[in-house]
């Protein structure tokens, strides 16, 4: 067992050697930031991380992308992390409840729902109410997961009841069912629709405004590089962050 741990340690060390920070000014030694971020942030945060590294010599940013609830569980179990970016406020709340967060979480982006259909929209879906039609095979997220909770909110506020063929536990499963043609339409976040590219056709609908999903970010109490972690959070909140997130379909949180 010890040998395995040593091996993992070795691999980590190798990862750290990756960027050749020929140490510059005194005090600014090499820092490795560990960022736990929701899976839906994979592409945007990877890009932001690279930009942050290029602007801050000697700093390398490592990511752990997973479902927000998984990430919270890992943080609760003592995984060393500097920053946590959650896909919903509920999971961030768990972290703050356990005093694992330094200061207050800040909302940095918001995501809304969008309808996705097969390219060309063969069933001619135009809005949310079309999804309730009998001949539409609809796939949505299960109410237990964030995108499903948002779907439920829209259903309640609009008074339109959907009868989905399946309630998936992940957005990727919803998209897969639409792109493979099994389903006529699905409800996913704008960012997921943007990420799917030409494989789907995206349709915005006004009712989506009733269920805006806010993404909070926070420095974690256990961070050994609190200042650098705060600088990363500020970077995400700043113009570069807004630009990268905006391109991916995120809107600014109010």
């Amino acid at each position: 067992m010890a040998a395995v741990l040593a091996l993992i340690g070795g691999l980590n060390a190798c990862g750290g050697d990756g960027d050749d920070g020929d140490s510059t000014a005194a005090g600014s030694e090499e820092v490795t930031l560990t960022v736990f971020a929701a899976a839906s942030l994979t592409s945007t945060f990877t890009e932001l991380g690279e930009r942050f590294e290029s602007e801050n010599e000697g700093v390398s940013v490592e990511f752990n992308f997973a479902g927000s609830s998984d990430l919270v569980a890992q943080i609760q179990n003592g995984s060393p992390a500097d920053v946590f970016a959650s896909a919903d406020e509920k999971n961030m709340q768990k972290a703050t409840d356990d005093d694992l967060v330094e200061g207050e979480p800040t909302l940095f982006a918001a995501n809304t729902l969008q309808i996705v259909t097969a390219p060309g929209n063969p069933k001619g879906i135009e809005g949310f109410e079309d999804l309730a039609a009998e001949d539409i095979t609809l796939v949505i997220c299960a109410p237990e997961v964030p995108c499903g909770a948002a779907t439920k909110e829209v259903e309640e506020s609009s008074g339109i009841t959907l009868s989905p063929a399946s309630e998936e536990s992940a957005v990727t499963d919803v998209l897969a069912k639409v792109t493979s043609g099994e389903a006529d339409a699905g409800l996913v976040y704008v960012t997921d629709a943007v990420g799917a590219g030409d494989a789907v056709e995206s349709i915005s609908f006004p009712e989506a405004a009733d269920a805006v999903n806010d993404y909070p970010i926070a420095v974690l109490a256990g961070s050994e590089h609190g200042d650098m972690a705060q600088r990363f959070v500020d970077f995400v909140l700043g113009p570069t962050g807004r630009e990268v997130l905006g391109e991916a379909g995120f809107v600014q949180s109010e």
Partner: protein
Amino acid sequence: MRSSQYSGLPAWVYVPAAAGAAFVLLPLLALMARVDWSQFISLITSESSVAALRLSLVTASISTVACVVLGVPMAVVLARTRFAGQSVLRSLVLLPMVLPPVVGGIALLYTFGRRGLLGEHLEVVGLQIAFSTVAVVIAQTFVSLPFLVVSLEGTLRTAGRRYDIVAATLGAKPTTVLRRVTLPLVLPGLASGAILAFARALGEFGATITFAGSLQGVTRTLPLEIYLQREVDPDAAVALSLVLVVVAVLVIGLVRGSRGQM
């Protein structure tokens, strides 16, 4: 006092053997330790849990029957005949056993899905398999079938053809031989194969979530329910996991029981 036979094993063998046993048992103990016993009954009797358990038991049972109907003839043909390409065919047929279930799910999607090889034609006659309980059964049968075939083929090979030949020379037609001699003789192997298939079907997750979708009472089996509950209610997920473990332990006990009769 029971008399015991000299094992002839070197003493050190017990160390890795015990470590292996602990490796398997510890996670189960950890799972049990995490169970919120005060809530246990209410967690596993919630509407969604009961629906998932029911669906799992029903679909796994139907899949097991499907495995027997398809797998027994397969095993008999593989064990009793020789033809060109047989070993290749055997490997291919057993593939679902080693394939990641999600790959199986994708393959099924392109077979029975709306735009799939067969699904396209089924769609024309008004049959839609995706998102139905039938899809769950198909996914479970796909991954479980090899377990029954492997188990039964091995038993058939061990049993040999001698009794079959005797039966034939006594005037029994091939169907009679199969029904009255071949199958009764391998019944223990068939039973343990069927139980293994049932257990595999009960635990099936990857192919189901990829191919069948997830809807309470229709396609959301117990493993899918556990996966979903993890998101919101880890306690419920743990409780349901324990239910699945208990069912699995019962199944293993049945296998051992049926093997013991041999």
